[in-house]
Amino acid sequence: MNPALSQQLRNLAGLGLGLVAFMFYAVYFSPTQGWVFFFQLTVNGIILGSIYALIALGYSMVYGILKLLNFAHGDVYMIGSFIGFGVLTLLGGPLSPAIPVALLVLCMFVVAMLGSGFLGLAIERFAYRPLRDAPRIAPLISALGVAFFLENSALLLFGSQYRNYDGYDLISYNGIHIGGDSGVFIQYLGVIVIVGAVLLMLALLGLVRWTRLGKAMRAVSFDREGAAMMGIDPDRVIAATFFIGSALAGAAGVMFGLLFSQIYYLIGFLAGLKGFTAAVVGGIGSIPGAMLGGLLVGLIESWAKGYLNGNVSDLVVFGILIGVMLVRPSGLLGTPALQKV
């Protein structure tokens, strides 16, 4: 058996055992409300996790292809969120939409994805492409500059106040009850987020697996020079990767806005860190890994909020990140890096 694959299977088996053990603990021994509470947290975690997964995908794709940590990714997500808000306000706001709500939400997603996609293209062109052959530290510093530039530009343009999506007014406060009125509650908004995220991820998987572009992306991330010799233009493929990754982040930004209503110029920082955590936990560079990692980070955050308290949930997530980076830097589904001399 392929050693990398068996490693991944062992990782997954360990993860599954851990999750099952935690579930039993939470359902039978937890001092709080038992299984309804646990499954409610799990549902919330899955909703949150699908947003993180979308962010993590952009991180992971860019890292896979350029070996570059794109610090600005979280801020692209923030800008996407603001673009969605701008579309919402232009088309009448949440209380009196000028066009049918479904169309309005679709418009928000499409415009935000295009906007952040083009932003990602511009960032790549200006901050990273000139540094393709520079020492490793140069693009990192440049990325830091981009993140700071975007954050403060947003502060300058949109101000420091919260903007309100009012997603519940726009769509619905209602949801699905599972197991009666005191059972698990899933809002329709949450359903929309999960379905949207799954659709986007399936589209991405299809693109990477079955199209020429996807094939080129895999080739470039495997060996950029070799791909160039085979007639693939790496610059174009890298630009496309940035576009797709940033568009996914923009979609995640709109989802965040719909779900949590309030956005402001600093939401990108923490979300970016969590997306990065998800990418690393799943195995950076691996697309299924990013999805799994995002889900896991969302679940862990939600459980930590429920069973510990809200303040420490971030610390738990980052503690896990540091642990994974130290113990298993290739993550759950990544292939261990072989250093060639």
């Binding site: 901050a127 540094l131 020492p135 530290i137 540091i322």
Partner: protein, 497 residues
């Protein structure tokens, strides 16, 4: 392989070509660059021994500040420049010498300040009273030592981490510090977001004598002494076995390891060394402002330190001093408490310097761009004035001696609001377009871009100088990295294929 180089030096495509060594190929060109007055001066500067550089630099820092400034300005400019020079010198060890990205550096600065404040000061909160009035030399020493140990601890994680993962771990370290200081802990050690306020000034007590530094001028001289000592120590280290080993492991860790250098230990040493210098800066800073507050150690400060290091040129000690002067002066001038007209003058000077630098060899193009902008601006202003009079009826924000020029040149709508926001976005788009263009088209594109920049500045940026400066520093990091990665004083990296 210079003999394999093609006979006609084509414009080199990005990246290296096989068999072409651009560094050797451009040797004559570089020698040519040395001939001008500026070139000769920079050549002489490079010939100068370090002691001579120091002899030039020290008065260059002192002269502009001491005699002409009142207390507040001396603190805002003089003391801050020296603090940031110290911080940049420390970060330079990590980033410049050892080539590691340390995004938690500002936490060491904070630790230094908090440890000093704790050991020399009075705090009582949540029923706990902490009154220690240690003599300054001991508390500074302890702060420096603890920071060095923390650096050792953080650096030891670099053993197992790749470059990028290390950056993230250090970023968390910095964030953890911010969270820790902002959250009031059960023992009231840090007093949450209010910070520690009753901190002693520097009290050196020995042999029954007490020397207290209480005036701003005193701190200025003390910090100057620290900077000079650190400069000398760092210069010695940079040229020593350890310094050369740092540079070797920065360039190629694998090759360095093969040559028998303990790469891991070197990395940890660099971290620890940088952290110690930050701790020193932090403790003096806490004493100088007699307090330590969480917002003194935020991400903004980190970016500021990075801007100093990157602008000055990683690896260059001279660069750190010059970078600190340039960045801190612009930072303080763009502060919301400083009169806006100073910021305006600096902004326009920087704008013109930017044009001159980007179009440099051709004076004709510079002249066309500037004159074109002037004519274009007057024309646009006249047209808008005739068509939409509210578009020019606004007030100039504290114009000073430039009021007349601005009123007849820049569009000032009575209520810019959204228009200014669109202007900002359009300006970014124009800059994006401008960079793509070549030759004379670029000069033509300069005209509307410059005019729009002036419009955005007068209507949006000057209202929020404190935010604008961070936008500019972010842009500066990108621009320096992409255009001139070695900064002002660094040495260009030579890569021979």
């Amino acid at each position: 392989m210079p003999e394999n180089a093609p006979p006609t030096p084509e414009p080199t495509p990005p990246g290296m070509q096989i068999g072409v060594d651009t560094w050797v190929e451009q040797a004559d060109e570089r020698r040519q660059r040395r001939t001008g007055v500026g070139g000769r001066i920079s050549h002489l500067w490079e010939l100068l021994p370090p002691a001579g550089k120091l002899a030039f630099l020290t008065p260059a820092i002192i002269v502009p500040f001491l005699p002409f400034m009142n207390e507040a300005n001396l603190f805002n400019y003089g003391v801050f420049i020296l603090i940031y020079a110290l911080l940049a010198l420390g970060l330079n060890v990590v980033v410049g010498f050892a080539g590691l990205l340390d995004l938690g550096y500002v936490a060491f600065f904070g630790f230094g300040a908090y440890i000093y404040s704790f050991l020399s000061g009075t705090h009582h909160e949540k029923g706990h009273v902490y009154t220690h009035h240690w003599s300054a030399q001991y508390s500074i020493l302890l702060a420096v030592l603890i920071c060095a140990l923390l650096g050792l601890f953080l650096g030891s994680s670099s053993r197992r981490l790749l470059g990028d993962y290390l950056a993230i771990v250090t970023l968390f370290f910095g964030q953890a510090f911010v969270i820790f200081t902002n959250t009031t802990d059960p023992y009231g050690l840090t007093n949450g977001s209010n910070g520690l306020a009753n901190v002693d000034p520097l009290n050196f007590r020995a042999f029954g004598q007490t020397l207290t530094i209480s005036s701003v001028k005193g701190y200025y001289w003390f910090l100057l002494g620290c900077v000079v000592v650190v400069l000398i120590v760092l210069w010695c280290i940079a040229e020593s076995r350890t310094g050369r080993a740092w540079k070797a492991s920065r360039e190629d860790p694998l090759a360095a390891e093969m040559m028998g250098m303990p790469v891991n230990r070197l990395k940890i040493m660099a971290f620890s060394f940088g952290a110690a210098i930050a701790g020193l800066a932090g403790s003096v800073f806490a004493a100088a402002q007699t307090g330590a507050f969480p917002q003194n150690f935020s991400t903004q400060v980190l970016i500021l330190i990075y801007a100093v290091v990157i602008l000055g040129g990683t690896g260059s000690l001279t660069g750190m001093i010059v970078g600190a002067v340039a960045i801190i002066v612009s930072n303080q001038v763009l502060d919301s408490t400083s009169p806006p007209n100073n910021a305006r003058v600096i902004f326009y000077v920087a704008l013109i310097a930017g044009i001159v630098l980007t179009l440099k060899p051709s004076w004709r193009r510079i002249a066309v761009a500037l004159v074109g902008t002037a004519v274009f601006g007057l024309a646009v202003h006249a047209i808008v004035d005739a068509v939409w009079s509210r578009g020019t009826a606004g007030q100039v924000t504290s114009g000073g001696f430039l009021t007349g020029v601005i009123r007849h040149f820049v569009l000032l709508p009575t209520n810019p609001g959204r228009l200014a926001v669109y202007g900002y976005l359009l300006m970014i788009v124009l800059i994006v377009v401008l960079v793509q263009l070549k030759g004379w088209w670029r000069v033509v594109a300069y005209v509307p871009t410059l005019y729009l920049t002036a419009f955005v500045w007068e209507n949006l940026l000057i209202q929020n100088p404190a935010v604008t400066r961070y936008v500019l520093f972010g842009a500066l990091l990108i621009a320096v990295m992409t255009i001139r990665p070695q900064g002002l004083f660094g040495t260009a990296k030579v890569e021979i294929v």
